[in-house]
């Protein structure tokens, strides 16, 4: 019996006097494709960062306190070999002023350090990862010259290059056009099919969530629902997560 991909026990995170997450208990089976949905400030990114094994002090500026427990593949997130987890941060946090080529970004995912020189083997593996997401032509392009969608693909390749067993993405569809978004889901599903990896993806797009995900986690500082998309995205659950649904529709778009 394999361990669950992700399991949390009464997990809570507190920033100063703000309780960002409380009472989060989850059991996510390996091979699931989980869409994480919830309003702004619902603690979605914070949950991913806890699962990445970041110190509470690094979740955000200032002090933070963690209560409860999280496990990834049956181990504390920090104890996990870093190569098991792939992570794609929010596109708005990417620093495009760093002088780098797309290929170097992908190699950094392989090496877990910045490359001074790229070996032929690394070049081969990184190019293959870029090819996998339809971005082989971007390999020699500078970061500053990439569009939002192109950058997103390079980061996806960067996370896939280490062949992670758990892939976590923070709003990967933001700043990507409709075609790019469809491609993104295609690449994710293709990777999942050949590797059996577990995918956790934060999204504001319920349509995509219900279409591509095997499960939806509806989060608003605690678990509102974790179920099949059709069940979790019912009207009642959504209104519990977002206050009232009419308002919720405009809120995610602004972000």
């Amino acid at each position: 019996m394999g361990a669950l991909a992700v399991q949390t026990f009464d997990l809570g995170v507190r920033f100063g006097d703000f309780q960002a997450l409380y009472g989060v208990s989850l059991a996510i089976s390996p091979g699931s494709f989980v869409a994480i949905v919830g309003p702004n400030g619902a603690g979605k990114s914070t949950l991913l960062k806890v699962l990445l094994g970041l110190d509470p002090g690094n979740l955000r500026d200032g002090e933070a306190r963690l209560t409860g427990r999280a496990e990834v593949f049956g181990q504390a997130p920090r104890a996990l070999p870093p190569g098991w987890v792939g992570y794609v941060p929010q596109v708005k946090s990417f620093d495009r002023s760093f002088p780098a080529l797309a290929l170097e970004v992908v190699v950094s995912g392989l090496r877990r350090a910045w490359p001074f020189r790229i070996t032929p083997h690394e070049r081969e593996v990184a190019t293959a990862a870029l090819e996998q997401v339809g971005a082989a032509h971007l390999a020699g392009r500078r970061l500053g010259r990439l569009s939002g969608g192109e950058l997103q693909r390079v980061y996806l390749a960067r996370s896939l290059v280490r062949r992670p067993r758990l892939l976590m993405l923070d709003e990967p569809a933001t700043g990507v056009d409709a075609v790019g978004e469809a491609d993104l889901y295609r690449h994710l599903e293709a990777y999942q099919q050949q590797s059996g990896a577990t995918v956790l993806m934060i999204t504001h797009d319920w349509e995509a969530a219900s279409h591509h995900a095997s499960h939806v986690l509806l989060l608003n500082r605690t678990v509102i629902a974790y179920d099949l998309p059709a069940v979790a995205l019912c009207h009642e659950c959504l209104s519990r997560a977002f206050g009232h649904v009419g308002h919720a529709h405009s809120a995610p778009v602004i972000r």
Partner: protein, 265 residues
């Protein structure tokens, strides 16, 4: 020009200028990409307070200035990590504190403070053999730390990804700012407190304009740092101008050249 090379003080000045140019430019690429350019200014003023305290105590000023500036560097980093004040604000606070302390120490000292001026504006021609050894030791230390380049670069590129990959990012922050403090104090004799921040920022910024990759940026920055020290010192010797200012003007000329090259491509 060649007879200048025969003069012992000129030889020491050249070696010191080249080493400081190389070391400061190397750290500068991290400082510039981490948007910490202001840190050099803040620490230069911490060096001023440290030198003033050293002169007041009547010891060799650099013995006091190095620990003082390192303490300020660590304090800046500590406050930055613990609060959500921006680094510019944090540095601004310690900058002001250092200047105030420096002025206080100077005023407590009796007598003429011409020697203090040589620290404020630099006087590379008074570099002693001991100064030279100190700078050489620092260069050797950074050479030994060269294998850390790829980890420092990774955290500079994307802090969160480096944290997720279990890099000791916090320790790096402290190490980098302490090293910048040491470099700043060591360079004071060569360029002076007023201009030392230029050594950290201008070669790296110039190189950034011309480099597609971080590896290239690092190499080119060091080359520019060394070249502008050499060029500046020769100009300073033949034109009889202050050495620190001439080197910084040379760096700025190269920066402007890079800007115009970039505009054309």
């Amino acid at each position: 020009m060649l007879e200048a090379l025969q003069l012992p003080f000129m030889q020491r000045a050249l070696v010191a200028g080249v080493l400081v140019g190389a070391v400061a430019s190397y750290l500068g690429v991290f400082i510039v990409q981490r948007r910490l350019s202001f840190l050099g200014d803040g620490l230069a003023h911490a060096a001023f307070a440290g030198v003033a305290l050293g002169l007041l105590l009547g010891t060799q000023p650099l013995y006091v200035a190095v620990p003082f500036a390192v303490a300020v560097a660590l304090a800046i980093t500590w406050v930055r990590e613990r609060t959500n004040l921006g680094e510019d604000t944090t540095i601004g606070v310690f900058f002001a504190l250092s200047v105030a302390l420096g002025v206080l120490f100077m005023s407590m000292r009796q007598g003429y403070s011409a020697d203090a001026l040589s620290y404020i504006f630099g006087s590379i021609l008074t570099v002693t053999a001991a100064d030279l050894w100190a700078v050489a030791a620092l260069a050797a230390l950074l050479l030994a730390l060269l294998p850390l380049w790829s980890r420092w670069a990774y955290a500079t590129f994307e802090r969160e990804l480096a944290l997720a990959d279990r890099l000791p990012v916090l320790r790096q922050d402290y190490a980098l700012s302490a090293l910048v403090a040491v470099v700043t104090v060591m360079s004071v004799k060569v360029v002076g407190i007023v201009l030392i921040a230029a050594f950290l920022v201008i070669p790296a910024a110039t190189s950034r304009l011309l480099s597609p990759t971080f590896a290239r940026m690092t190499l080119l920055a060091v080359a520019i740092g060394v070249l502008s020290s050499l060029l500046g010192l020769f100009l300073s010797y033949s034109l009889d101008t202050p050495s620190g200012a001439t080197i910084v003007l040379t760096q700025t000329a190269l920066f402007l050249l890079a800007l115009s090259l970039r505009g054309r491509s």
